[in-house]
């Protein structure tokens, strides 16, 4: 199965100082832009995309995938320190990362994030190299019914997201409905209120920046410093120490890293799911199997590690599907499909056949990027940790303006900025009454997949029946997985309801 010749060719493509330096450059660029709230990773990649036109294929693609890897980590920096994720996949990292910052363990959290990201990325790359040819066969088996069930699988996580199952359902349902807005592939236009800009659906990044990022600013306003009333004391020496300590903590959880990366890769490989869903599912699983689940959300190491390794590993999976089938796994890979086509290469089954050496080169570039990610990540984190000592009166105007600029830059429309404002208002309201923001975001991300694939299932069969799902082997497996994921939740609800009813009866 493994030909020596193309593998060596791939390695040879990398043995070029230009390629090496561009990967390093890409990683740095990705980390820094990812860390700036408002400047999302897909935006960073799409800005650099036209510049890759004159580059050679391996140079251009390696550059963009390096940015993607860097961005996956970089967006966690602002999520951990400021509770403002730079990109959707960093939301979950902040669940435990930000409480750690508030406990004075910011550098430790960053160190853990660096190590988890780098390891996740590496594992994802290995998976990519070893298994990619297999992916083509498996992924082709996923037709509309299967892809729909994949979306449902992602949705089941919403149910477990929050103490109040009902609140999560309502928020998640709302998000899914928002996700269906736009023009369908049958030509029907839903929910756009006459705005042409909404024909492709509600834009995810502006919604994210508004819902989670901008609304956070309103809460930041209430305090003098991000972590409370006073600045955290620390110096570079101490920061470095904490960083390395955090790195060491990750090594104490090898199973978590392994399991999360595996989940990350698999989910990343599924079309449409992407790094965000990967991080949520991984986090959920880590919480479920942890000995101390109640610590999750309050600064649990395993929480952060599972989220970070999953979202970086998912890149390996997403690249696998993109390279072998040409289907993007998420926003970032969608831009990269464009990068390939710009080079005159069509990602898909033929790419591996016609350009095997190049594909291996790209995959090995991921391995290199993982090491650079580790080094660059540590370096940036050393200085990034100091950000929390900047008073909020400085941070808020800065972040506000950058958010506006970054949101505008995506499609060069002020319309997106206004969407951001609307979602900011919603975010504040939801925070006040304790509704899970991520449920809405997940809904917006998964809504289009669910809707389109369900529609295609209906179109292909002429009608919709459970029989369709039961007759196909892969969808049957997926159905079982969904039930398996829902079982613990159902059980928990049953127990809670019994308790509350029983409690009420006592009074």
């Amino acid at each position: 199965m493994f030909d020596a010749a193309p593998i060596l060719e791939g390695l040879g493509l990398l043995a070029d100082w230009k390629v090496m330096s561009i990967i390093l450059l890409g990683v740095f660029f990705g980390i820094i832009t990812g860390a700036i709230p408002g400047f999302s990773t897909p935006l960073a990649i799409s800005i650099m995309l036209p510049l890759t036109y004159p580059m050679s294929p391996v140079l251009g693609i390696a550059f963009l995938t390096a940015i993607y890897a860097g961005g996956n980590f970089g967006s966690s920096i602002s999520s951990i320190l400021l509770n403002i994720p730079g990109s959707p996949q960093a939301i979950v990292t902040g669940f435990d990362g930000n409480p750690m910052t508030k406990q004075g363990r910011a550098s430790e959290a960053l160190g853990m994030a660096v190590a988890s990201s780098a390891m996740g990325n590496l594992l994802g790359a290995f998976f990519l190299i070893l298994v990619m040819p297999l992916i083509v066969t498996v992924a082709l088996m996923f037709g509309p019914p299967e892809l729909f069930l994949v979306g449902v699988l992602g949705l089941t996580v919403i149910a477990a997201l929050h103490n109040s199952f009902l609140k999560a359902i309502i928020a998640g349902g709302f998000g899914v409905l928002l996700g269906t807005v736009g023009m369908t592939s049958t030509g029907a236009i839903r929910g756009t209120h006459g705005y042409f800009e909404l024909m492709d659906g509600i834009p995810v990044i502006p919604a994210l920046i508004g819902l989670i990022g901008f609304s956070e600013l309103f809460y930041m306003l209430q305090q003098r410093y991000v972590t409370g009333g006073s600045a955290q004391k620390g110096d570079s020496q101490k920061n470095l120490h904490s960083l390395l300590y955090g790195f060491g903590r990750v090594l104490k959880h090898p199973l978590t890293v392994l399991k999360s990366s595996t989940i990350g890769v698999i989910i990343g490989a599924l079309p449409g799911a992407g790094a965000t869903v990967a991080s949520v599912v991984s986090y959920n699983e880590a919480k479920r199997s942890s000995k101390k689940p109640e610590e999750f959300g309050k600064g649990a190491e395993e929480g952060l590690i599972s989220a970070e390794s999953a979202n970086n590993a998912s890149e390996g999976g997403a690249l696998a599907t993109m390279l072998s089938l040409g289907i993007p796994g998420g926003l970032a890979t969608a831009v990269m499909v464009g990068a390939f086509m710009l080079q005159g290469l069509i990602p898909g089954p033929r790419l591996f056949i016609d350009h095997q050496g190049l594909v291996y080169g790209i995959m090995f570039a991921q391995v290199v990027a993982s090491f650079f990610l580790f080094m660059a990540g540590l370096l940036v984190s050393l200085y990034a940790a100091k950000v929390i000592n900047i008073p909020t009166i400085v941070l808020i105007p800065l972040i506000a303006v950058f958010s506006v600029a970054g949101t505008y830059a995506i499609s060069l429309q002020m319309f997106d900025v206004k969407i951001m404002l609307v979602f900011a208002a919603l975010g504040i309201l939801m925070r006040k009454y304790d509704y899970p923001l991520i449920a809405v975001i997940l809904g917006i991300i998964l809504g289009p997949i669910l809707d389109r694939q369900l529609m295609r299932t209906f179109q292909g069969a002429g009608e919709l029946s459970i029989g369709i799902f039961l007759n196909r082997p892969v969808s049957l497996i997926l159905l079982c997985m969904i039930l398996f994921c829902l079982a613990p939740i159902a059980f928990k609800i049953y127990r809670n309801t019994r308790e509350s009813l029983g409690f009420a009866r006592r009074t």
Binding site: I47, I170, G173, P397, L429, R431, K432, Y433
Partner: protein
């Protein structure tokens, strides 16, 4: 009618789900009136139904809890330990932000950002005039140079810059 008073006081609890359900209902009805209804509503219908059921259960459970005298509905959530205490500042921030966004199209990005940040700093009681003027100017200029000049992302230019 202690129950009614309690309901009114904590009525805000229903703000979020009510808004969500209201929009969902409006959306559902809007899509229902489009041709080829069954294909457009494939996903929307079940999701809406689930939302409706969840909403009803939520409200019923709450009212039930009130009637039984258990009072505090949101007692489990400690996320509300982040309260908005600084009401005036918060409101001003919101108003300024909205004005800023609409001002960009009129005055251009650089000038609006400069004004916005300066006004924010004043709102935050920054005393030094030097900081109020220089810091926003520097930031706005930096963004302009990075986006417009270096990355070729043209920022909105209103009647000014």
């Amino acid at each position: 009618m202690d129950f009614m008073r309690q309901l009114g006081k904590k009525g805000g609890e229903f703000a979020v789900p009510s808004i969500m359900l209201a929009y969902a209902t409006y959306y559902y009805l809007e899509v229902s009136s489009l041709p080829r209804r069954e294909i457009n509503l494939l996903l929307i219908q079940p999701v809406y139904f689930v939302m409706l059921v969840a909403f009803v259960i939520l409200v019923s459970a709450y009212i039930y809890g009130l009637l039984v005298g258990r009072g505090a509905f949101a007692s489990g959530s400690d996320a509300a330990d982040r309260k908005i205490t600084n009401k005036i500042s918060t409101l001003s921030f919101a108003v300024l932000t909205v004005a800023y966004v609409f001002g960009i199209e009129w005055l251009g990005f650089v000038i609006s950002s400069w004004l916005y940040m300066a006004l924010l700093l004043m709102l935050f009681s920054v005393k030094s005039w030097l900081i109020i003027v220089i810091f926003p100017a520097g930031t706005a200029l930096f963004i302009y140079l990075t986006f417009d000049m270096w990355l070729s992302i043209p920022l909105p230019k209103g009647i000014l810059l």
